[in-house]
Symmetry: C2
Subunit: 234 residues, 2 copies
């Protein structure tokens, strides 16, 4: 028998669902996995029109082996939510792996967990990690000690397979990869800023620029609470 591996996904309003549904589908097949999907209040969380129900309350979870924080536009609010950050900090304390996908690394950073650590993040938000003393890493999956962080949204699948390989060995990861037929074949090569056609990059940047000031301000405020000066990201 494999020992139980307690995995907690900590959701918040405005989470991007694929950030956690991708890893969830992979980790659910890890032998011994006992997954709890939770939020601060429990109950329901809406994500891009999908409603996830019967969530556990974070404060009802004693401890876990893997803590995973997904990202999403709601990170702007989550970075300023002291009660949520307290739960993240508490569960991270004893976790064997503290992890994130996409902008979830900004939540870990705002909880004061990534000082001096290399971390991945969605490309358009990655620079903001530096506000918290973390080291932005453009890898699809970044590893720094017990911190394992994935890049934007779909990086969560690569992240989860990497984690499974570490915990249960490459054979188990490969079996899960085969089970979910993960032989990606994108119809375009546009998944990173340096790959995307310039007009596509400009279009996406325009969308993100709308509201980016507010998001940067939230990160600066969260960093200030940790005693960080107002370092403007590069």
């Amino acid at each position: 028998m494999t020992d139980q591996i307690r995995i907690v996904f900590a959701l918040f309003p405005g989470v991007t669902h694929l950030d956690f549904t991708g890893p969830h589908q992979i980790l659910a097949r890890l032998p011994g996995a006992a997954i709890t999907v939770a939020s601060l209040e429990g109950g329901e969380v809406e994500a891009d029109g999908l409603i996830f129900a019967h969530l556990a309350r974070l404060d009802q979870i004693e401890a876990c082996d893997i803590l995973c924080i997904p990202g999403g536009f709601g990170v702007t609010q989550a970075m300023g939510d002291a009660a949520f950050l307290d739960q993240v900090k508490r569960l991270a304390w004893s976790a064997r792996y503290v992890t994130s996908v996409c902008t979830g690394s900004l939540v870990l950073a705002a909880a004061g967990l990534l000082e001096g650590k290399r971390a991945a993040c969605h490309w358009a938000w990655r620079d903001q990690l530096a506000l918290f003393g973390a080291i932005p890493d453009e890898a699809r999956v970044a590893r720094d000690g017990r911190f394992v962080t994935g890049g934007g949204v779909t990086a969560g699948v690569d992240f989860a397979l990497t984690l499974v390989a570490e915990i249960a060995g490459p054979g188990v990861a490969q079996a899960i990869q085969l089970a979910v037929e993960y032989a990606p074949d994108p119809p375009f090569q546009s998944g990173r800023p340096e790959l995307a056609p310039p007009e596509v990059l400009a279009r996406v940047r325009r969308i993100y620029d709308n509201g980016m000031d507010e998001r940067v301000a939230a990160a600066v405020a969260a960093a200030a609470k940790l005693g960080k000066g107002e370092v403007v990201p590069a």
Copy 2:
């Protein structure tokens, strides 16, 4: 203004959630998309421990432009659920695109929609399409007229980007690909039977073999209801 594009995901108990959360996250960003996630009874559907709530009832949906059927182990039961298949047939009737991910194509087939059509499916179930007179296609995304079908689980992301490109043009698909940072970088090359190490393939086949007789019998029974003889899949 872009015209509204009515998209329906039809869930059932035992669905594999990444089959639809992947495409959902992509299609939610398609300009004009109006997505309804539905099931036969509405309410809640559980999938690998995640509970999707506030689902619409299929019989309350008048029509849609894109119908998408995800797959999962529950397909075995769904193929024999006449009420569910009736709703699938009804919505498919007027849909511009009738689509599936993973073993969802077996549901389309059981609804009598794929006779003589090429369709993709999860690699381990693909042969069963032939029971229904459909033509198994090992492509990651198969296209036959208005039928667009994806392979196993993670193929849903490639499927959805292909559909977005067709509907809204490659620029929109590329922008969404960049937004979800879809530059996959699997840690292993094990996502198809011909790529996986033989011992990994054997391990996964052993898991699937457990219960495969029952699943094949369900497909044979569903095919018989359509007047198909008991053709044993190759």
